[in-house]
């Protein structure tokens, strides 16, 4: 996807097309993220697929998404701190 944005930024002048591509790129990233979460949380939360998602499974899935984001944020922040201290990467 980075090719797309690189391309559109070198072809300045068509801002409508650039805006369009940026929005579509964001949508695509959002969708890719959902696919990833669903892949992961399905394995964690769904046992045998029944006639509907029961409330326990639903709670598990939304918790799974929320906690996964928490973990990503936590790790990102901590990693930034590590880099600031200049440690950990040598």
């Amino acid at each position: 996807m980075s090719d797309l944005s690189d391309y559109s930024s070198t072809k300045a002048g068509d801002s409508e097309l650039q805006d369009f591509l940026m929005v579509e790129k964001q949508k695509a990233q959002f969708h890719a993220q959902i696919h990833e979460f669903n892949d992961f949380c399905w394995d964690k939360c769904v046992d045998k697929p029944g006639s509907k998602l029961d409330s326990r499974t639903e709670t598990c899935i939304s918790n799974c998404v929320e906690r996964f984001i928490d973990v990503s944020l936590l790790i990102t922040n901590r990693f930034a701190q590590m880099l600031e201290k200049g440690g950990g990467m040598h």
Binding site: D14, L17, E24, N38, I61, V65, E66
Partner: protein
């Protein structure tokens, strides 16, 4: 692609290009979903692959597909809500 490199696009060309991009993204999304569903539901429903899919396996697959879509929509809602919340906190 020729018209892209040779300069500006006419309005009609631009619209065509945007439609094409949207269509390609939609196809990619559907393919991703199909691949994931096949993988996940095969794992859940087919214990020991026999000489044909029996009716209980077929029922399981149908149910699994519906639940996978439910889970996908739930993940999408949870993720959107979270993004909204993070934005408000900034």
């Amino acid at each position: 692609m020729d018209s892209l490199s040779s300069g500006s696009l006419s309005g009609v060309q631009k619209e065509e290009l945007m439609d094409q991009v949207k269509q390609q993204i939609a196809i990619a999304n559907a393919q991703e979903l199909l691949t994931k569903m096949s993988e996940k539901c095969f794992k859940k429903c087919i214990g020991k692959p026999g000489t044909a899919l029996d009716s209980s396996e077929q029922k399981c697959i149908a149910m699994c597909m519906d639940r996978y879509m439910d889970a996908w929509n739930l993940v999408s809602r949870t993720y959107s809500t979270r993004i909204q919340r993070e934005r408000n906190n900034m």
